[in-house]
Symmetry: C2
Subunit: 296 residues, 2 copies
């Protein structure tokens, strides 16, 4: 009898929460209460913590045992949360519900939401330099790996392609894939790679884990599109059925629901296959499946 | 006969411009054209480049000769530019003119301006990890020094205090000072300190340069307030006379123009006095004076 995935992931999630609380502020200099409350509002809303889990599990799978992986995981979650806050702003997607709570700007106003996002981005990147027990050159490499994933070559680039696509919707699946690979896939993949890098994995293991991450990133997005079309808002904790209303290109929109579902499953299976064979990678394989089957 | 300060600073400024152009994009992955154009619009508008100059001159004064100081200087200018773009957004100061050009959101729309700011913040911090010729642990320390200056303990904290002050204007000069020290002073001071850190300055020299930086940061803000009240928009390249209209607390508002002018001069002189005695610090001393006397 195996434990449920949820139960097995719980201790990892608890480590993430603990580290997020400890690391939200620079030691001894917490800054004004207002911006800190806005940061906490979004950061501690119930999230799945998929990216930090990926980093921690990849690190473990690659044989790492540095205490600093928790710091890296927390940093990645801050960076993800910054992207949600800014993405939800009126000038972007103008969303009012996220992680089951009012979005940051609805709760705290646009100005503080902007600053809270900026602060989480700043804190997240600086934190990568503070991971205990990792040699400085490895921390520098993590900064580069994560920085590239969230910069113009990754997440920000994907966002700006997405903006352009609202005017000029792409018709080919390759163009949709390009947007998603940058917007969502890049940070998911980088989270896995970060775990491998932090563990000092040898090149072959690093490459296999990176491949797992890239496939998982795409599977995640296909599943997200399906959720947007057919999911329940309560479970998702965010507004759904907005993408197609805005004319955004989505997988189900281009391929239909059935073929999208098949594609997601195939990508998740492909992700699991890329893993180096090892019992320690078992949780990563199951997480890939979970990402595709999740309802929120 | 001594060269004019402008002429002496020219070669440093040219190094900054060259490095900014070379480092704006991650090598080989430039990202979508739209966000890159928005970043360049603000970054290459005519600026005084005070912060990168401070970093380069402090580095030289501390005996540093690493090629990587240009990278650090460029990173700091990107971080400063990000703060201008976000600060000018409609939900913040809602400004339409900056560095003599339409602000980023006026030229490219709010969404792209938000992303351009995010991208410059990301790129600036990651770049600190890429400074050539500096040992990794020194690059990590730079990340911490600069990160603290622009985070909730520094710039972002100052911005959020400033927001709160619009509702509830401070009446004591100490409160105004607290806002300015964070909002403007922190990154100016950190730029000087970064130069010293990059050079591997011994503790005493580092401390004196840091003190110079803190005094200069405050002098800069007093001068900025004076400029806002009495300067010419054309020379400043930004809208003036907005602070008092918004009820923001300013030095001339609290102390009057005469006493503010005297305070700025005193702070600039105090900054120069803090410098370790050395001919190499001559440019830093003159820069302190320039900061107070500038008309734009």
């Amino acid at each position: 009898m195996t434990l449920s995935l949820e139960a097995e992931l719980r201790p990892y999630r608890e480590r993430v929460e603990r580290e997020l609380r400890a690391r939200l502020s620079v030691e001894g200099e917490e800054g004004p209460e207002s911006v800190r409350r806005a940061m906490a509002h979004s950061l501690f809303a119930p999230g799945k913590r998929v990216r930090p889990l990926l980093a921690m599990l990849a690190h473990e799978a690659a044989g790492g045992d540095a205490r600093g992986i928790d710091t890296i995981a927390a940093a990645i979650e801050m960076l993800h949360t910054y992207s949600l806050i800014h993405d939800d702003l009126p000038c972007m997607d103008d969303d009012d519900l996220r992680r089951g709570r009012p979005t940051c700007h609805v709760a705290y106003g646009e100005a503080l939401a902007l600053l809270a996002g900026d602060a989480l981005l700043t804190r997240g990147l600086v934190l990568l330099g503070e991971a205990e027990g990792l040699p400085p050159e490895r921390r520098i490499r993590l900064l580069r790996v994560i920085g590239r994933a969230i910069g113009t070559a990754g997440m920000i680039g994907g966002q700006s392609l997405d903006l352009a696509a609202e005017e000029n919707p792409p018709r080919r699946i390759e163009e949709v894939e390009e947007i998603h690979l940058r917007k969502t896939g890049a940070l998911l993949a980088a989270s896995v790679l970060a775990g491998a890098v932090a563990a000092g994995a040898p090149p072959e293991a690093e490459e296999r884990l990176a491949l797992y991450g890239r496939r998982l990133g795409l599977a995640f997005q296909v599943a997200d599109d399906l959720l947007d079309r057919a999911g329940a808002e309560e479970a998702a904790g965010k507004r759904l059925r907005k993408d197609e209303a805005r004319g955004k290109a989505t997988y189900p929109g281009l391929l239909g629901t059935e073929r999208s579902r098949a594609l997601a499953a195939e990508l998740a299976a492909g992700a699991a296959e890329a893993l180096p064979f090892d019992t320690k990678t078992n949780l990563l394989a199951r997480l890939a499946r979970f990402v595709v089957d999740r309802s929120g």
